[in-house]
């Protein structure tokens, strides 16, 4: 059953990258075959947690031995505006005896304990490799628990060994579609309700966007899943429009919601001035097309005009300081394209970017805009990355935390632009914050000092 789900997810018509593949390639799925001894990255369970854990009032229970949660909990910066149940790490911590006798009964008791102690509106149960191997049927346990305990207990079937983090994102989306979305009705509903899919409110980014939407008259009725409440996700099917943020992660949710409830979706980004404005425009236009007041469009243009003039003025001081500064950009997919725009807006020169997670469309876009001299890397090895930085081919690297030491040990400025960063870079304020962070590290007095040789070095 899980295999069918995985195949279904692999064959995602909403995914641009997938649609450029041959039938045979598509069947192999979107995860590259992992090479033992030279693989990196998280597993499907990791991806499922990333996608769903930001639902703040749910108890997220991990069924597995200690490694799956014990080594990983409390390590993400998605924020809540209220209840903090999502920050509590729950696991069945399977022992040898559980492996031998089966963990289903323990899982049920664990769910019950979570409900008794924390009274959440729902419990999400995450399957992991070991219980999947010994045949623990979490679907059955969840069904039983739902009946007995009188609240939704949702199985999230994405054990680590089925594939990558990206696959786990998608399987988490499927679980929402199968068990959550459409199961409740919203208390309020307007014709300008939007659901944002694939936004996790890292470092509180959503809150940099939300006030603008509110000013325009767009109501963020639900978010999957940043700062979300279970009820909002369960009633997300009443949104008039869906925005899919990190497209390759949860595009299946956008597409299926369109199929089932006729909700149109668009892919957008909150990063960079132009992309942010485009997103607001598209959102307003599509809502109006669905019957919202056409005044939305005027208000949107008003907000864009004001914000853009403000943001360009705020970016002005950085332009001189960033003159001639070269950036090595390492991030994935749509975001890398968005970031290129954003950073060039601020006067930085991008010397190259990774395209590991980009679609063919993205790559063409980059090529067209940047010409053939622009470097794109499918898979740049850390050793080569280190050499480039040490040989001063770039002034700063922007990437995720994994590669930070490649840059820092080469004594080259580095900034975290991935999901574990501590600063919010979304929206108009976000791009200014990003420039401030880049400027702060570029102009730090430490670089000259740490590069100087020790007194005993020749």
């Amino acid at each position: 059953m899980l295999q069918d789900k995985v195949q279904e997810v692999f064959n995602e018509p909403g995914c641009a990258k997938n649609q450029t593949k041959t039938e045979k390639e598509r069947k192999k799925g979107c995860t590259k075959a992992l090479k033992p001894g030279a693989a990196a990255g998280g597993c499907a369970y990791d991806g499922a947690m990333i996608a769903l854990q930001p639902i703040v009032d749910v108890a997220h229970v991990v069924h597995g031995p200690i490694a799956c949660l014990g080594n990983s909990w409390d390590n993400r910066g998605c924020r809540s505006s209220g209840v903090e149940t999502y920050r509590i790490g729950f696991t069945t911590d399977m022992s040898e005896l559980d492996v031998i006798n089966g963990g289903e009964k323990k899982l049920y008791r664990a769910i019950k304990e979570a409900v008794t102690a924390h009274n959440p509106p729902a419990v999400f149960v995450y399957q992991t490799c070991v219980p999947a191997m010994i045949g623990d049927d979490i679907d059955a346990v969840c069904k039983h628990a739902t009946q007995k305990l009188g609240l939704p207990v949702i199985p999230i079937n994405a054990p680590g060994f089925v594939g990558s983090k990206n696959l786990g994102n998608k399987l988490a989306g499927e679980a929402l579609l199968d068990h959550v979305i459409g199961t409740m009705e919203p208390e309020v509903s307007t014709d300008a309700d939007v659901c944002v899919i694939g936004e996790y409110n890292l470092a509180g980014e959503l809150w940099q966007v939300k006030p603008l939407l509110e000013e325009i008259g767009i109501r963020l009725s639900s978010c999957i899943s940043g700062d979300a409440r279970y009820r909002e996700v369960a009633s997300a099917h009443r949104a008039r429009l869906n925005m899919v943020v990190c497209s390759q992660a949860l595009v299946n949710v956008g597409r299926k919601m369109e199929e089932r409830w006729g909700i149109p979706y668009f892919e957008g980004s909150f990063y960079g001035v132009t992309d942010m404005s485009d997103t607001l425009r598209t959102m307003a236009r599509m809502l109006v097309e669905r019957g919202a007041s056409s005044a939305l469009i005027d208000r949107t243009e008003g907000v864009i005009a004001r914000e853009e003039s403000k943001v360009w003025r705020r970016l002005e001081p950085y332009k001189a300081r960033f003159q001639g500064k070269r950036v090595l950009l390492f991030t994935g997919g749509v975001k890398s394209w968005s970031m290129v725009n954003a950073l060039e807006n601020a006067g930085l020169t991008i010397i190259g970017t990774s395209t590991k997670k980009s679609t063919k469309e993205d790559k063409d876009k980059i090529k067209k805009a940047k010409g053939d001299d622009f470097h794109t890397w499918e898979n740049l090895r850390p050793k080569e990355m280190y050499r480039m930085l040490r040989d001063a081919e770039a002034d700063i690297m922007l990437s995720g935390g994994r590669s930070q030491f490649v840059s820092l040990k080469a004594k080259v400025p580095w900034l975290d632009i991935n999901q574990e960063r501590h600063h919010a870079y979304a929206g108009y304020d976000g791009i200014v914050a990003l420039c401030e962070e880049i400027d702060k590290t570029l102009s730090s007095p430490i670089w000259r000092q740490v590069r100087a040789p020790a007194p005993w070095a020749a």
């Binding site: 949660l69 070991v130 680590g160 580095w414 900034l415 975290d416």
Partner: protein
């Protein structure tokens, strides 16, 4: 050798639901032990997520590149058996990274299937005679048995059993130190200083001070940068003496003694005045030398700090939650200082827990610590960074020790062994209470109830965000 579940010695939390787990997995401990070996690459035999999580945790704690690879087991390999993945991983690592040694830890996935590691090693050697020079150490570290400290110990025992050779000569002045999982790179550096001051040459197994203390490489390397060399491990049989630090080093110590005949002395802790005295006495005997003036002055400083500091530690109610050996070292030192240890919570069963003195000693999680601390009216929690949420809820101070410590810099360089280390820990703890006392007796605006640790570490976090990292975007907590 496998980290088998201990016979319960102290009560275990009766819950089915571990809440805010204190426990980390055994393979992660094994990986850390292998990281103390020079030019080594630890390898998890399991699904890639096992490695990614472990790597993120250690990166966040040490703020260092963490070399760790995976056999990337998928569903099919899991069912059919993982030998092919293991062999491919070993060959790929050899080809790409040229390590001196690969340390392989099993995980829950491969242990549930029951992959035969002994057989795998034999088969690999038979099929790959050209890789005979590559040292391999395989250890069984199922995720569902034991925890971090046991995995670490299993890897150290594995290295002793698989690398050390008996020899018929002695290298004068060379001594072995089996360094338990509770010792930070800073602790090991401190022990090296002290031991060398007696004219002795220590070999630390493992030696994290050379690999995880902020080294600056001349070039990028995918393997460990520094650590004890495989040749040094081989030569441990030629040492005059072995010092084992931490009860968890017991089996490694026994294995080393049996294999080489090198006499071993075991120290359950090196934190505290009497504990350090015993250690120094041993070094005096082994070396036949007197301590240097520096050591003598350090002892005086510790004695002085105990005189000055006991006012602030006596009868203070403290809850402690750490890995077993560290739990013992810290609680015993707190006992030495007259503190009232209201709870001592360990993530796993361990023999050393018999020696832990506290009002409640139990195997549990951070939720248990929080409940016990609340019930007893604790004024301070000592645990890893994960304990900050509970301390914050209780409104009491939180002193970070153990792994992971991701919301304070320099966790790996903290020293709590020897006279100097005990002094550091004493000052850290006493200062928390001193600051609170000064604060509470300080101003007319003080409306807080007694025992409410105003202005302390727990409060630092009140405005913190969910990640609780170090700010500046550099907590490095990314699996990629």
């Amino acid at each position: 050798m496998a980290a088998m579940t201990h016979i319960p010695r102290v009560p275990t939390s009766a819950k089915s639901l571990a809440t805010n787990p204190l426990k980390m997995s055994a393979p992660l401990g094994g990986a850390l032990a292998f990281m103390g070996v020079d030019n080594c690459l630890p390898l998890f035999h399991g699904s890639q997520g096992c490695t990614a999580f472990g790597m993120v945790l250690l990166v966040r704690h040490f703020r260092e590149a963490v070399p760790l690879q995976t056999t990337a087991m998928d569903q099919v390999a899991t069912i059919m058996g993982g030998y092919e993945n293991l062999e491919e991983a070993l060959k790929t690592i050899h080809a790409n990274n040229k390590p001196d040694m690969i340390g392989v830890c099993t995980t829950g996935v491969t242990e549930t299937k029951g992959d035969d590691m002994g057989g795998a090693l034999t088969l690999f050697r038979k099929r790959n005679p050209d890789l005979a020079a590559l040292d391999l150490v395989f250890v069984n570290t199922p995720d569902f048995a034991g925890g971090f400290e046991e995995g670490f110990a299993a890897a150290v025992t594995g290295m002793v059993e698989q690398l050390v050779e008996p020899v018929d000569y002695k290298i004068p002045g060379q001594i072995n130190v089996l360094a338990g999982a509770h010792l930070t790179p800073g602790d090991i550096e401190e022990l090296r200083d002290v031991i060398e001051s007696f004219g002795l040459s220590p070999i630390f197994l493992p030696d994290l001070s050379l690999s995880m203390s902020g080294r600056q490489p001349a070039d990028f390397t995918a393997t460990t940068l520094g650590g004890v060399t495989v040749d040094q491990i081989r030569s441990m049989g030629a040492s005059e003496f072995t010092i084992a630090v931490g009860r968890s080093m017991g089996s490694a110590c026994a294995a080393l003694e049996m294999k080489t005949g090198v006499p071993c002395r075991h120290f359950d802790r090196l934190t505290g005045l009497e504990a350090s005295d015993a250690f120094i006495k041993t070094l005096m005997e082994v070396s036949g030398r007197q301590p240097t003036g520096k050591i003598k002055r350090q002892r005086e400083s510790l004695v002085d700090a105990m005189l000055d500091g006991h006012f602030f530690t006596s009868r203070k109610k403290i809850a402690v939650a750490l890995e077993p050996d560290l739990l013992y070292a810290v609680t015993a030192f707190l006992n030495d200082l007259g503190a009232d240890v209201v709870a001592a919570v360990s993530p796993t069963q361990a023999g050393i827990l018999d020696k832990v003195h506290a009002r409640v000693v139990m195997v549990g999680d951070h939720a248990d610590v929080e409940a016990l601390a609340k019930e007893a009216g604790a004024e301070l929690v000592i645990s890893c960074s994960h304990g900050r949420q509970g301390a914050q809820r209780l409104g009491i101070a939180h002193h970070r020790m153990g792994i992971p410590t991701f919301d304070r810099l320099g966790a790996g360089l903290k020293v709590s062994v020897g006279y100097r280390g005990a002094l550091n820990l004493l000052l850290d703890v006493a200062n928390i209470f001193l600051a609170a006392e000064m604060d509470h007796h300080g101003g007319p605006h003080d409306l807080h109830a007694p025992g409410h640790a105003h202005g302390q570490e727990g409060h630092d976090d009140a405005a913190g965000h969910a990640c609780g990292g170090g700010g500046g975007g550099s907590c490095g907590c990314n699996a990629g």
